[in-house]
Symmetry: C2
Subunit: 246 residues, 2 copies
């Protein structure tokens, strides 16, 4: 039998069904806090509980990456394909008991993503979310499904990536000062970073940032020497890395 013939006779319904979803840990900076987007679930299962935004991968038409981009756009209005935002796979979560629909015979596998975005306005409620809110990662309530675990993994991933990638750039909008960039590190790590050494380190890393002609002074400034301004420099990695204090 040829592969073509075999495919014609193949019945996908002869196997029990899985569902595949994506869940997004979307991070932004608000004030001095690293915040994550939470939605209050409008539908079962876990209706009324806080959870990470997410949804089903559209069968036959999407990869999980596509679905994650679509959900990010729906929930936040951010188009990661075009904007400064960043969206990357974290891990797959597949324990049979992670979703109550297993009791009805459906095993739900979730592919989790981490998204980074510059400061966003107060969250937009999506279609299946009765409410949506930015919450500091230190003040997150108990979440639905295994989202506590996913979020913990996501936060650790974000913290680790600041060390050896230029992902901090996704939290700011050009033009930015090195102080703004340093505050990203301080907010994500929850540690203060030496301004002088940070500046030298960033400028010594080829392609981390590129200087920009100084535009108008930023609005909320309270005096002091105006900063030099920069934009993203094109490099993706920082080598040697910026080590996390402690």
């Amino acid at each position: 039998m040829s592969e073509r013939q075999w495919l014609r006779e193949y019945d996908p319904r002869s196997y029990p069904p899985f569902a595949v979803t994506v869940d997004l840990a979307v991070f932004t900076l608000r004030g001095d806090d690293l915040c994550v987007l939470l939605v209050r679930r409008g539908e079962y299962p876990h209706r009324g509980r806080w959870a990470l935004p997410g949804g089903h991968v559209l069968h036959g038409r999407e990869s999980a990456d596509d679905a994650a981009h679509r959900e990010l756009l729906e929930e936040t209005g951010v188009d990661a394909w075009r904007s400064n935002a960043h969206l990357q796979q974290l891990a797959a979560y597949s324990a049979p008991d992670r979703d109550p629909r297993m009791a009805a015979g459906l095993q739900v596998v979730s592919i989790a993503y981490v998204a980074l975005a510059p400061g966003l306005p107060d969250a937009v409620a999506g279609t299946d979310a009765a409410d949506a809110r930015w919450t500091p990662v230190g003040a997150v309530p108990a979440l639905a499904f295994d989202h506590d675990r996913i979020l913990a993994d996501a936060v650790e991933r974000v913290r680790a990536k600041l060390e050896y990638t230029t992902s901090a750039l996704h939290f700011v909008t050009a033009p930015f000062s090195l102080t703004e960039l340093r505050r990203v590190y301080e907010a994500v790590w929850g540690r203060s970073v030496e301004p002088a050494n940070f500046r030298r380190k960033v400028l010594a890393t080829p392609g981390f940032v590129s200087p920009v002609d100084r535009a108008a002074t930023a609005p909320g400034r309270r005096g002091g020497r105006p900063p030099e301004l920069y934009g993203p420099g094109g490099a993706a990695t920082v080598d040697p890395p910026i080590r996390r204090p402690m």
Copy 2:
């Protein structure tokens, strides 16, 4: 309607079906080469082509982690739960066109794993594999599905993990000499590593290795000063990391 009622009326067959598989990139050291386990597929799709070993997640009974452990045991006889071997999730691959069964209406999502194991005997053919073979990562033929991509990602993951974890220990069996351990780095990275600096670095990392009373001399030695022998030291991370040359 309560969640309990909603669940009773929920029909999982009302959604189109996904299948969830695991694929394993199993690495070992043979001679001076980093090798990966390949199987020749005995069934459609892609019957007769080389591929990474893998199989379906058993519906309702397994997580992807469970399935990966089961497949590793079936393909290599290695029980990663009990032995020195190492098994960790890599990423999920979900493009609709990655598996020909999409043409029959089934979207197959694969969760890929990386396994590390000390030198194994010539590969055991599994149930659905007509043939199985260890292949140096530099001499891998074109693979079925998107396994070329998965393997490339897996190799990069293994190389990167040597830098900041003690995962090299999974390639050797205690007791081992620091030269053996260094050869792991050299084989995986394809670069020579300074013996003197490597030794100091490993011994200076708390918990990387622990000394062991010298047992009988290893069989295949050709003379020269006998090495001091070590076992795993319990630590999981190497900080500061062992940087890859270049």
